[in-house]
């Protein structure tokens, strides 16, 4: 189908974009890559009155590289991350994730900020950035604030972002040299949204170990038992994963989903321990 009628503006600065958004809180929506929003408009499940195009704002395309962390602008595309055009804090994890996210023709326009803002439960970035302990830097009429990724996505397509706030960047702590990660996306066709998604990261130097499930009927699911097992270098992870899933009864996994999650998390952890 075709998108409904809409107005369009392309502000010159982030401040102007925030201003426009707060002037039209109900009908305005920012558009970055449009790879979800235009699809939703074409399907008529979204019908904003005003599109604020932020895709060319220089403030949102910046990549910063400090000794401890990398900042990636909200409008950096999946393809730029795949191609290593943005500094990589994750020792190869983020380029690997980007390369299997959707299709190249979508990755060239879709952005990391758009993915976080939408927080599709099956999307890669909310889960992967939670595992990496990243922070989302957002900008609103009152200034900037920073939200830990684990608190950013609050549910299915739900986030801690206020209606008048725009994501400016993601700040990702750098993994140490001896850090290791494992990643598994289960889907029936390359590039499809995940049926199950698991990320495991261990960084002993920084005392960080975390195993996270995506496609988990809600916000990314941090597996506490399994994360602990990862840091202790314990035995077979399968039982720990099963125990974590037992504690997440509110996600209402059916038997098939439960099995997929167990397989994904177990394999991601094994990749780390190998």
């Amino acid at each position: 189908m075709k998108a409904p009628a809409v107005d369009y503006v392309r502000p010159k600065s982030l401040a102007e974009a925030v201003d426009l958004l707060s002037q039209h809180p109900r009908e305005a929506r920012v558009i970055a890559g449009g790879q979800s929003l235009v699809a939703m408009m074409n399907l008529r499940v979204a019908s904003p009155g005003l599109l604020i195009d932020i895709s060319r704002l220089p403030e949102l395309s910046l990549v910063s590289d400090d000794p401890n962390a990398v900042g990636i602008g909200a409008c950096v595309t999946h393809a730029a991350i795949e191609d290593g055009q943005a500094a990589d804090p994750s020792r190869g994890l983020m380029p690997r994730v980007a390369a299997s996210l959707a299709y190249r023709a979508i990755r060239t326009r879709g952005t990391i900020g758009g993915s976080l803002a939408l927080s599709d439960p099956a999307a890669e970035w909310p889960a992967v950035l939670t595992a990496l302990d990243a922070e989302v830097v957002v900008c609103g009429p009152g200034g900037k604030r920073s939200i830990g990724c684990a608190d950013f996505t609050t549910g299915v397509f739900e986030t801690a972002l206020a209606a008048d706030e725009i994501i400016e960047s993601v700040r990702i702590p750098k993994l140490s040299q001896d850090a290791r990660w494992g990643y598994l996306k289960l889907c029936r066709k390359a590039g499809e949204f995940a049926s199950a998604l698991a990320v495991a990261v261990i960084d002993r130097t920084r005392g960080h170990s975390r195993v996270v499930l995506g496609a988990a009927n809600g916000a990314p699911l941090v597996l506490d038992h399994t994360s602990r097992l990862l840091s202790n270098g314990g035995p077979e992870p399968r039982n720990a994963v099963a125990a974590d899933l037992d504690r997440a009864a509110d996600r209402h996994f059916d038997e098939f989903q439960r099995n997929l999650h167990i397989v994904a998390a177990t394999r991601a952890v094994r990749q780390v321990l190998q």
Binding site: Y8, G34, A39, S55, A102, Y103, R104, A105, I106, G191
Partner: protein, 160 residues
């Protein structure tokens, strides 16, 4: 209506467009470039793939207004392109199309795979084509044709 200026297949174009108009509909209905096809209009089938500033993009998921100042190339653009010539020849020889609906976007996607060196094996080609649906061929001949073109171009490059 919003005024836009952009480059399409090497020519400068200026027009006034309603913001809801997709790049695909702009190309097909305003510029008569009907080689860009529409299948699903939500990003899944790949039939509408064109190049925006040199990179493949879904023209059904781009608004024409957002293409202001950008450079667009459609399947009508590649007459003198050596990679496209090799692909066309091999699609013909290997019978890589039936109805042809998916073909323009298959060619544009395949050209991008070859230029990014992602057409080195059958597996790589199949992964790279995952976002382009063909309802006729069963893909086998498309994959064969792309592999053959990549090999030809690889050899030519080595001999050059």
């Amino acid at each position: 209506m919003t005024a836009i200026r952009l480059q399409i297949n090497g020519a400068d174009v200026a027009d006034d467009v309603p913001p809801r108009l997709s790049l695909a509909d702009f190309l097909r209905e305003r510029r008569n470039l009907t080689g860009t096809h529409l299948g699903c209009e939500h990003g899944v089938c790949g039939a509408c793939t064109v190049l925006v500033d040199g990179a493949p993009a879904r023209s059904c998921l781009m608004l024409a207004v957002a293409c202001d100042e950008r450079r667009i190339q459609t399947i009508e653009a590649f007459a003198d392109d050596p990679v496209m010539q090799a692909l066309r020849r091999n699609f013909h020889q290997h019978h890589a199309l039936q109805c042809g609906y998916c073909t323009p976007a298959m060619l544009i996607t395949a050209r991008d795979l070859i230029l990014r060196r992602r057409a080195g094996s059958e597996r790589e080609i199949r992964d790279g084509l995952a976002g382009n649906i063909c309802r006729c061929t069963g893909y086998t001949n498309i994959v064969t044709a792309i592999a053959a073109a990549a090999k030809e171009l690889g050899t030519e490059a080595a001999n050059a």
